[in-house]
């Protein structure tokens, strides 16, 4: 099973995703802002990061640059979970070299399948 870090400022979203992730047997960690998220990524070395783009200090795009720019963290896949318009998210994921996205509101099964797919690709 994997360790998954969710960086998201809205507690209701964290609670929902935590239920899904832990029901699949994964370890779950969360951070409410970019700087906490970066620190937690350093200390916990997660297998996957779920990232919201709208964060209250630095936004998700900036945080992804910090994560990808660090040699220890750069290989951790990042899945964007956001309410931003899909075309903007698509461009963002491509430009920032991220691993995928789901636009809110998304079906829970899509989250499960996308997590499985990214983790499967990582271990394959």
């Amino acid at each position: 099973m994997a360790r998954i870090l969710y960086i998201e400022d809205i507690q209701d979203n964290i609670t929902l995703v935590e239920k899904i992730v832990t029901s699949r047997g994964h370890d779950f960690l969360s951070a409410r802002n970019a700087e906490q998220g970066l620190e937690l990524a350093f200390t916990s070395k997660p297998d996957l990061i779920l990232l919201d783009l709208g964060l209250p200090d630095a936004d998700g795009q900036t945080l992804s640059v910090w994560l990808k720019g660090d040699p220890i963290l750069s290989s951790i896949p990042i899945l964007v979970l956001t309410a931003w318009p899909e075309e903007v998210v698509r461009q963002t994921v491509s430009a920032y070299n991220l691993n995928g996205y789901l636009c809110k509101p998304f079906a829970l099964i899509d989250l499960v399948n996308t997590i499985d797919s990214i983790l499967g690709a990582k271990t394959a």
Binding site: L55, P56, G69, V88
Partner: protein, 281 residues
């Protein structure tokens, strides 16, 4: 329901931050802030918290907020937001009336604001309050990426004072966010000047330090001589070679800015557009 406007300076920055974030939770482009960022915003954009408003119902419920920036003869309405449960109750209209009344009291000649394109409810409210559309601006992003080996020209990096001196002579209109006063209020402002064989220009920007990293934002570019696309491409190439690992957020680039092809050539893409609106008082 009676809506009472309360001066925002009766609230702490943390309380205003929490309220602002709650108003934006389902926004077209959610952009939450923390108290440090809102405090910086108030400082950098000359927000007058006494003239800014929190809307409260007669039963004491907080409904929304709006902020008013003030510089000489101009006011700027920003951060207007209503809690999702309080929409369609006249709160937004009451907040706008409060802002316009306060702007009038300050003796301004014109009030400005910006609205995200496709935010129809807000846009219609502003039209109803007498605002007219002036220009459209792009908010663009640039992720770090490898650059080709094509740097040309001689670059001089500008410190805060030199960058502000250049910006103060900028010949075109800048929105409130990138105006010389806003850039002067930030200690993170710096710039670069470029001389090419057949051109010259400058780029002023903010290099904001977070606890762990830095990021670039608020780019303003000007070509003094030569082709804006050529000068702009070289200015951005030098910037992103120097700051190879910085994320960049370029706010309020005019939709017809002659440097736009340079931004696009360097990999910038549009996140969203803003419409600037003005109202004579």
């Amino acid at each position: 329901m009676t809506i009472e406007p309360i001066p925002a300076d009766r609230f702490t920055i943390q309380e205003l931050t929490d309220l602002y974030n709650q108003t934006r939770v389902d926004y077209l482009v959610p952009m939450p802030m923390n108290a440090d960022r809102l405090g910086e915003y108030v400082h950098d954009f000359d927000i007058d918290l006494h003239q800014s408003c929190v809307a409260r119902s007669d039963d004491g419920q907080v409904l929304g907020l709006s902020m008013l920036g003030f510089r000489r003869n101009t006011a700027w309405i920003t951060r207007l937001g209503v809690l999702p449960a309080s929409r369609r109750t006249g709160t937004g209209s009451a907040l706008m009336d409060c802002m316009l009344e306060n702007a009038n009291t300050l003796g301004v000649k014109e009030t400005h604001l910006e609205v995200i394109k496709n935010n129809e409810p807000a846009y219609k409210l502003f039209l109803k309050k007498g605002f007219v559309e002036t220009d459209t601006y792009l908010v663009m992003r640039h992720a770090p990426r490898p650059l080709g080996d094509s740097l040309q020209g001689e670059v001089t990096w500008m410190d805060f004072e030199t960058a502000i001196e250049k910006l103060s002579a900028y010949p075109k209109h800048l929105t409130w966010i990138n105006a010389c006063e806003s850039m002067s209020n930030s200690p993170n402002t710096e710039g670069l000047y470029l001389s090419l064989p057949e051109g010259a220009g400058w780029l002023v920007y903010r290099n904001t330090k977070f606890t762990l990293r830095s990021t670039l934002s608020h780019l303003i570019m000007h070509t003094e001589q030569g082709d804006p696309v050529e000068v702009g491409t070289q200015l951005l190439s030098h910037l992103h070679t120097h700051y190879a690992h910085h994320d960049t957020y370029a706010e309020n680039i005019h939709e017809h800015d002659p440097h736009l092809p340079a931004f696009e050539a360097l990999g910038y893409f549009t996140n969203f557009s803003r419409i600037e609106m003005r109202r004579s008082m």
